[in-house]
Symmetry: C2
Subunit: 428 residues, 2 copies
């Protein structure tokens, strides 16, 4: 271990106190300042990104990964807009979420405080640098950012803008610390810093998440793959179901809230499957199916066990016809990843049975899986979508970067009053 990351984490942790001590309005101004500096720094960010793109292209990066890496004026504007949305979120710090008075007169409050130091380990997308920093600072945390090496220049240029905003406010730059050296051993070092890091959030491909999960001794909230299902119930409105299917599969197939598997109730299969097939093919989607699906078109490949477990991240979908809701739920329990499940049905009782029969982070009734996103669900932005049923489950916004603690106010109460002495509080 080089100690390089420990030094960064130590500085970030020390800087955190200054962020936590900021009044609400100063954290608001800080995020606004970060947005302004991003906009002002546009040319520099684009130049740095062009370097990253050139290096990535020369190294033979795929078209999809080049697209994730690419920044243009609109995307930088989008980053600034996301920062302003986070700035405008309600301030969670100090919020008293509950207040009880106990029979002995103690006033027991639950109050939100920052987690402390959050480490973000991510790949490709440079916008994560700005958005993760904004979410962490809004909640009074410091953040340690370890982005992908392919985006090193872009991330450094973005971080420079964030640092400028911190300087403007007289706040320590170390509150947003970038692990600039790309060596993988630094990730390993980071994951052992139990005395400094309160939470690590890995965000990226499955191999990154597995690496983090296997080596972390710091607490981790995982953002795993999304094997998301659409279940078309026999009581579905077919137009609705087609809309959810096309949006879920084809609007952006490379993201975790895209659909991977379509389950169809047997009683609606004849009416639904031919239309579904036509709609999917019109979007260039490859369909793999079971016998019922293949009976619609013999050219359809047979869906394997691996297909039902797959997060294709591509224009491919697996289809299965099921006998009833219970079969659909059993399929989801077996192959799902606790991310997002959708039901299309006009039957309220079936909808409720589906909701209570799944335990995924988001369950959608007649709404696209693509809405499982912090911005879409009203959180302003997200630092990840947790598929771990601990601390946070689903999109993580500002509030997920805080914790509730107990504040108890009394006037001298003790658990075992001494018989001989008066209680001080009562005497006061």
């Amino acid at each position: 271990m080089s100690g390089y990351v420990r030094e960064l984490a130590l500085a970030a942790r020390q800087a955190q106190a200054a962020i936590a001590a900021c009044e609400s309005i100063r954290r608001y101004a800080l995020l606004e300042g970060m947005a302004v500096h991003l906009e002002a720094g546009l040319a520099g960010i684009l130049a740095a990104n062009a370097d990253d793109m050139q290096r990535a292209a020369a190294a033979g990066a795929t078209k999809a990964s080049l697209d994730r890496l690419l920044l243009d004026a609109a995307r930088v504007q989008g980053m600034a807009a996301a920062l302003r949305e986070v700035a405008a979120q309600p301030d969670p710090l100090g919020t008293v979420t509950r207040r009880d008075v106990r029979p002995n007169g103690l006033v027991v409050e639950r109050q939100r405080i920052p987690l402390g130091l959050v480490a973000m380990i991510y790949e490709a997308r440079p916008n994560v640098t700005a958005e993760a920093a904004a979410l962490c600072l809004k909640a009074g945390n410091a953040v340690l950012l370890r982005g992908g090496s392919e985006a090193a220049a872009s991330n450094a240029a973005i971080a420079a803008c964030l640092h400028a905003a911190l300087r403007d406010m007289g706040l320590p730059e170390a509150a947003v610390s970038l692990v600039a050296d790309p060596a993988r051993e630094h990730v390993l070092e980071l994951l052992q810093l139990v005395d400094l890091i309160d939470l690590a959030i890995p965000r990226g491909g499955e191999s990154l998440i597995r690496f983090v999960a296997e080596h972390a001794r710091v607490p981790v909230v995982k953002h795993y793959k999304g094997v998301c299902h659409l279940y078309v119930d026999r009581a579905a409105n077919i137009e609705t179901a087609i809309g959810l299917l096309v949006d879920g599969k084809a609007s952006r197939p490379g993201v975790c809230n895209a659909l991977e598997t379509l389950l169809v109730h047997r009683e609606i299969a004849d009416a639904f499957l031919p239309r579904a097939l036509a709609a999917l093919r019109a979007q260039g989607v490859e369909v793999r199916g079971d016998a019922a699906m293949r009976s619609v078109d013999a050219d359809i490949a047979e869906a394997t066990e691996a297909d039902y477990a797959a997060e294709f991240l591509d224009l491919v979908i697996a289809v299965r016809v099921v006998d009833n809701l219970a079969d659909a739920l059993a399929h989801i329990a077996r192959y799902g990843s606790d991310h997002t499940e959708v039901i299309a049905t006009e039957d309220a009782a079936t909808a409720e049975a589906f909701v209570s029969g799944t335990r995924s982070s988001a369950v959608m009734v007649n709404a696209s899986s693509r809405f499982n996103d912090g911005g879409q669900l009203g959180l302003g932005a997200e630092i990840g979508i947790s598929t771990t049923r601990l601390h946070a489950y689903g999109p993580m916004g500002v509030e997920s970067l805080t914790i509730e603690r107990f504040v108890v106010r009394g006037n001298g109460q003790v658990r075992h009053p001494r018989p001989a002495a008066r209680r001080g509080g009562e005497a006061a």
Copy 2:
């Protein structure tokens, strides 16, 4: 790995669905039934406990650990009472904690669901067997219990009562599963079961917690040591402060919410220290202090660095005189364990500065550290006191054994409406 614990965990996980599917009133009845069976099984429990006590005494257990192990009629009654208190807690399951309507008409709810399977790894105290099971079942979870080998017979007798209550309700006994084989390799096996266990809670001595933290790949919420401080401000009411000191240190020194260190503002030291010393000595407490404390009585031993970091769990206290609040906060930040801190002051501004200057799981203003306890703070009972700022911080009750997920209801909303087609929901 023997697979012994995996089999137990698999059965518990399967049984969990039946618990989660129980109506609120049935989970209430289940916990009441557990209390009834504990009372009815008193003789058997005491006989089993006598065996454990005999074995422990023969093995040379300390008086303190024999006291933790001992059950008598009153303690079994206490267990039954705790079960009834947990039963009477509000049911968290299905609770909608937030509900927003998005501009596109989506109704976004946050809803509490069970964590799944909770593993409890604990030592000595057999009451944990009943209370942890009750808290987990109330929240719709299954529980895997691995108690200390010294309490094996007591735990088995208690579990038999809990199983009888499950049988009465037609629910699977595996929802409360006991790791009966005491081999330590089984704890190691348990800590690797990432596909089956949603949360592990270690509760016991520091070496147990460290063992779990080092070897766990499943998520862990730690219940670490309590190095709890009382800060006596210059504006303290001296009677109040003496009451908090004696209750915090002497009412039950072997527990984690007992005081370990006393910090005293220099301006009140002359008035306070002699009285504090007398009150502590009257309770048989050994005092170790800095120069200011030792100037009161030359017989007082010098407090070392190790004393200020120590969780004595005994009738010993370390004392330091500080120049001001900032010094007190710096001492707590350096030596504290994020458990419980207390201030005695009649000055409201100082109280608030103390609250915002510490980030421990519980901060007490003019109230004893001994109130950092789930029962005392209104949670009915506790499965532990988390000192990890993740998921839960402070005493963990029923609600801490659930997680909020997203339920989204729409009428066909999609993120990228196809220009050519009407939206299904609108057509319906």
